[in-house]
Amino acid sequence: MELILEQFPVVIQSLNIGFIQTLKLFFVTLLGAVPLGLIISFGSMSRFRPLSYLTKIIVWIVRGTPLMIQLLIIYYFPGLVLDNPIWGGGESGRFLAASVAFIFNYACYFSEIYRGGIQGVPKGQEEAGLVLGMTRSQIFFRITLLQMIKRIVPPMSNEIITLVKDTSLARIIALQEIIWAGQAFLKGSQGISGAIWPLFFTAVYYLIFNGILTVLLGQLEKKLDYFR
């Protein structure tokens, strides 16, 4: 116990740095995947058949294979197979590759949630907009969108919380996120080795952050309670 107290400041500092990387990946993914998912959902709902088939195949591949494999392929394929290491070396290159993999993967999941949300809005809403002379985009932004958002908040909350934890997969390409930072003390780092508790302690970070997210998303859900 005394030993842990002694190690605590060093470990926390290191875990904080790792967690910042975790948060960065989380927010970048969210920022990229939320709009990209909408574009993909429009693709899969397109009346132009080849586009909707193509989109559905992409979604199938991305959802049907492990994110870990996607990370590895996106990071290593350009350099090892094409002899063109587009990501560059170092932490920034790994972060970029991880961001691309995460954004694409999560956009595909989001797109299916959006599709459900959009298709769940009764057809009569669109028709009412049409007979009132609105354009398709006015109907989407003024009528459908908010009703869709209301519908998708609960399933999106689920995905977002999963995303927080999924960021840990990025250590497969040696991105130095929080679990990577915790694991370092097992192998030996900054004079500490063979310590497993830092790894276990990373769970506290996830738990607290997800707690905050749960409260925020719950508030959003409540805010949209003013209509049905």
Binding site: G124, V131, L132, G133, M134, Q138, I143, L146, Q147, F227
Partner: protein, 261 residues
């Protein structure tokens, strides 16, 4: 001159013919009721007039202007259709109010979006907004909803919702207001208040087409009645004539179900 002329309108869904050679005309200020059993094509006819369905053949003219001609593809451009829709208003059976807007917001939304397209919108923004609001409020008052303007649809009864929907359609001042079974989703107590409002519009000589199963009401309010059966207009005439002296056996059969109760 007739405000609306419909000529030889046809419509198929896959291989089923839902409308067969529909022709009729309507004078300004008149009320046309369309009666007939479910599946006879009444709703599809209204949807064709509002460009929610595209007819397979025929013509639709409003005030002499050809809005739709199956022979002429230039009448089917999306951007044009949007403007043409404004000749018609449509009140749906299930109201289709926008749940995230208040009663007032529902009535104002489309008008505001249209106003935005005006060239002087930016300069006169506030003025335009208050004009639209004033009109919307007076429409809702006319519908007896003066103390319900700030309520959301889920806080209103079915009858109140339908009256908001009527105000919303009237806000765009359509030439012809269409009703698709406006009281079919309401219980009998609430039906009365909606019918009263429609009657009030008829008294003000609003041109209307009403698809309804309320026979007594249709008889009372209409200047013209159409009986549809299996996608055809089987009988057409003054209400007294259609309701009291129907010529077709099928019409008699249909009406007898209502008189027997």
């Amino acid at each position: 001159m007739a405000i609306l002329e419909v000529e030889h309108l046809n419509k198929n869904f896959e291989r089923t013919e839902v409308l067969k050679d529909i022709s009729f005309s309507l004078e300004k200020g008149q009320v046309l009721s369309i009666i007939g059993s479910s599946g006879s094509g009444k709703t599809t006819l209204l949807r064709c007039l509002n460009f929610l369905e595209r007819p397979g053949g025929g013509k639709i003219r409003v005030n002499g202007e050809t809005l739709f001609d199956a022979e002429d593809p230039s009448t089917m451009q999306e951007s044009e259709i949007r403007k043409k829709r404004l000749h018609f208003g449509l009140v749906f059976q299930s109201f289709n109010l926008f749940p995230q807007y208040t009663a007032l917001g529902n009535v104002m939304l489309a008008k505001e979006l249209l106003a935005k397209a005006q060239p002087d919108y930016k300069a006169r923004r506030k003025e335009i907004h208050s004009e639209i609001e004033k009109e919307a409020k007076s429409l809702l008052t006319q519908m007896g909803l003066e103390d319900r303007m700030e309520n959301y649809p889920h806080q209103l009864s079915g009858g109140q919702c339908q009256r908001v929907a009527i105000a919303r359609a009237l806000a765009l001042k359509p030439d012809i207001l269409c009703f698709d079974e406006p009281t079919s989703a309401l219980d009998p107590e609430l039906t009365g208040e909606v019918l009263k409002v429609i009657k009030g519009l008829a008294d003000q000589e609003t041109t209307m087409i009403i698809v309804t199963h309320e026979m007594a009401f249709a008889r009372d309010v209409s200047s013209q009645v159409i009986f549809m059966d299996d996608g055809r207009i089987l009988e057409q005439g003054m209400p007294e004539q259609v309701f009291e002296n129907p010529t077709e056996e099928r019409t008699k059969q249909f009406l007898s179900r209502y008189t027997q109760g």
